[in-house]
Symmetry: D3
């Protein structure tokens, strides 16, 4: 197996660093760093649910994803300057929300909403998957806090949930693409898995290329490997 | 293999109907009906490209997806009433755009933009995949027109592109979910393929459930079957 | 009396076609075609009224008018792209709402709101008057449904209501202007009438020309003729 | 002929007062008072035209109509608080623009835009017609200034233009409705005329009532009388 | 002490004119003129308070500041045209609100909101300080009205409040800058004081220059002088 | 002199920490921490100027201030959710911009714009003054980079610029208020100074109280002390 520009093997994750309780106010707060990618994930607990869930005895999880203007090489305008939520951000925060709802038993959560704010401070590829992983850890912290404070009777976490990106670059399937690899990739895919080894969401494809069933299976195996690494890191943090 | 509420087999598409040149003004126009789902796909050709492509000798394809307020059981507010593009619509139109760019050689297209308006008149599941399929046919019509008028020298279509939805409902993998099935599905996935049998984009997962690699492979095979059916319909239209 | 480019006489309407129950979900749904002009009119019934009517025992009727981006020769941006409801659309939907409220006894309707969505699929002149006529038919369908379902005791329709455009083109007063005539007109006017032969609203004038009282009377007579034709079509549909 | 609450005859205008050069900065500025209705009309001259007119050697006239929040009995929110231009204001400013374009030979104006800001300081009925009349006077002032400064060679004013409201209240047709009359009216209509006694625009109807051709003719005669009074006031101002 | 372009002494205010009950509908209404600067200040009383004050037995005062498009030399776009409240206006209305809350005992006011609309009709420097002074007078009028109508038991005015601008122009500290002076000033400052001679708010500085403590003290003394003049005018109005 | 809740003396700053080059992409980047207040200040250099400066040979400095949703005790909605830039943020970023323009000789800067993004990660009082201080340091870094890269010939920094908050709490003037002190303050003021000991901007006052000239002088002396401390920290960083 060949090497990459930063010396990593094709199936190797970048350095992972998780700082818990990064901000003092939120119910759950994490700074997650995957290589040069840095995302602050803050969880807010609200004692209300969206309109469509009122009175159903169930909770909700929603995410907001945003990049600081200079988290990237060139400055991006803030959404408010254009009066439009960035389309890519919207697509990503919908993905994050779906994946994180897969981590929690919403009936055990009860009529509460968890808002997961994912603010990208520095972006070097894989910000959406880092947000899912960091968001999951922040949700765990928030649930622990609610349990300690007697606001929850039973832990509503039903699955560990993490995500990684994979892709085909220079015809080679590889794990955890940095920005430079991502921008050259023929195919890139985001893979979200539970700690039971099952898939929660696949999303991706190829603007530059297309792919066969066998290539997809190879990408899924790389994804499984990356997700295992992330679960190990989480396990060791305890 | 069991039957479904509407009598279809698990691997059977709904009735497909394509009305070409549905609207008289656009360069390409199609009304596509998949069962009760009806989408008008209109292609507009503009002799300019987005800022990031100016001077690169390449064209662009972008899509807009919108539902009429009463295309669904209950009335949805128009985007303009909320001053926000619907998040689901944005996510969908980004998917449509990516898939349709996979159909066209953008260098052969030259400095032109194809805008594909997908307006859902009646929704009964599978509106995004119907939009991709209908959008592809409308793009073909528009390219033919440009060729006839001498505005293109060579046909820029490089792949046929269609899409179908698949999902796991009542633990059974099935093809082309109608709304009622979609709302009960544990897993649902949108599969976009080329006429060469390769995948362009996968997108989906399970808010209610998760899935294994084998289940995904089964869903991909259903998707392949559905896409073949669509390509047959397109072939017969000629 | 002379002939027009499309062979019609000066006081002749274009071909009128009404498809009832065009969309399956709304309480009342009509596709109205006047020549090449096609408008989908969908009526939604809501069991609430605007703030200013709460507790007054009266209902309300409001309209929304919108054109698909390629309902015209060149593509129009969607309202949401500009974050502004199109000024012309707003002016038109206010007109449609006023005219349709003239069709219904709002006290008999009770504390309900009828929302009339007029979505122009293809525009060739007279879209606002087609929307009024189609909207009226869709309201009738919706009221019939409410009567059948026991949600209304008495039919609240108090007047039949239709509308036509008239204008002075090449110094000749004429009925039911198509786009090409409308764009050359010195004076154009929209005339909304009841089935009792009384006027509900006049709106129009001349950006290019002005007009005398006698010319206005001539235009009103043409309008009366056109409205009678429309009421005949509606009568025959039963 | 009966009397009205404020002692006026049915065909009598309220007191008209025009203060020229009310604001010192605009090219043309007028405070027009019709009874208690007060509107500031300011004309700005810009040396450019809207996109659709560039290079056609013609000018343009556009109007903006706005009410101060407490120009009415209860406070209205400012448009910016709702991020939406008020629908009624939009409808009105489109009317004002159309009527004022009827006053000016746009080719003589050349590639200039006149922006007519109509800001209602106090509203007591007839604000849109006062805006048209005041706007016309302000345009005349602006054109005079342009002629003096040598920025126009020939006066582009081709018609005097004024407007009044008329209506049927308590079954009596009457001229120049104040707010209290307007809110009780069965039919109300805005009539815009030139100083040659021809009509430029009619707009109105009846939400509460409908009307016959003869009633319309009666209203038009009242309108003619009111417009003559306004032209007399303008004549005497010189 | 030198003279200024308009003949004023360095410590001399421009001509002050206050027209009470300028508009007939608001609870308090004032047209304030300071030289060529003209601002309409209208106070609306609402029997409700913002969310954060509900149930606290206290009232609130808020201000909105807006300039008519041609209150200045060149036309400004209306906020609604840009869908953004002008930043300078927002900054100013926050200042006005803070200062005017210093005039009123909010507990005596009870659960009411006073909305102070400051609409600048003509701007020649000092519009924000004129708004504070005019706003204070309009609040007094509104409170008198509420007392007369028995809607307040005790006058909630606790301080007279006025404001003036001061600045350093051509190295000379001076009072009440007109636009021409303001645009050349090295330092300019807005000073809001009570009728007890105490300061409520200072705001200002120097984009072109900086200043020492002694210069600030000199400016404050000029401000005190100007405020006294304003309180004298208010006193004489009674 | 008494002590404060956190043990500080009345004229004592909180702990100051500056992390340079916090983010790798911007031309200048600083994380500034004042006690628990943390602000990321990123400077972007653009080779263009706002419209009003084009062709004048001068540069511009502008700031954007924003708080992360959970930088505070309770979650704040993002601006984009309300489609309105927060009024307090707008007021603050205008202040930051004015103060930072006082640091730079805009003619030496040439036709460049420095955009200073101040993103508050954690807020505990004094975020606007921390933004000014951090923004100044980030501008210095950016100018050094431009000098090294030969994009500037001469250092355009003309003044060191820092800012602190001061206030009167429990009748005691004090320096560098934390959130808890700020929320109880009778008077609070933001003081921006140069390294030459001169004032650039004062802004503040009392919603709860008012103040005399002597109290203001006392506050300014505290401000001078705090600013000296900040300049010492900056000096030692080198």
């Amino acid at each position: 197996m060949g090497k990459r520009r930063d010396g990593r093997k094709l199936d190797e994750m970048r350095k992972i660093k998780v700082t818990k309780e990064y901000i003092i106010y939120p119910e759950g707060s994490v700074l997650i760093e995957i290589g040069n990618t840095k995302v602050i994930c803050n969880v807010t607990v609200e004692d209300k649910v969206p309109k469509f869930l009122i009175g159903k005895g169930k909770g909700w999880i929603t995410a907001e994803y945003n990049m600081l203007p200079r988290s990237t090489h060139t400055r991006m305008l803030r959404d408010i300057s254009k009066l439009k939520k960035n389309g890519r951000s919207l697509e990503i925060q919908r993905l994050i929300g779906r994946c994180l709802r897969g981590a929690v038993d919403l009936e055990l959560l009860g009529e509460k909403t968890l808002i997961v704010d994912c603010d990208v401070v520095q972006a070097d590829g894989g910000t959406r998957t880092a947000s899912i992983t960091g968001g999951y850890i922040a949700i765990k912290l928030a649930c622990n806090k609610l349990l300690e404070e007697g606001k929850l009777e039973k832990n509503p976490i039903k699955n560990g949930v993490v995500a990684v990106s994979v892709g085909i670059v220079d015809e080679k399937p590889m794990l955890d693409l940095c920005y430079e690899e991502d921008s050259r990739a023929d195919v890139d895919m985001n893979i979200c898995m539970t700690d039971k080894g099952r898939f929660l969401e696949l999303q991706g494809g190829g603007e530059k290329g297309d792919f066969s069933k066998n290539e997809l299976i190879k990408l899924m195996e790389l994804g499984e490997k990356g997700c295992k690494t992330l679960f190990n890191v989480i396990e060791e943090m305890k």
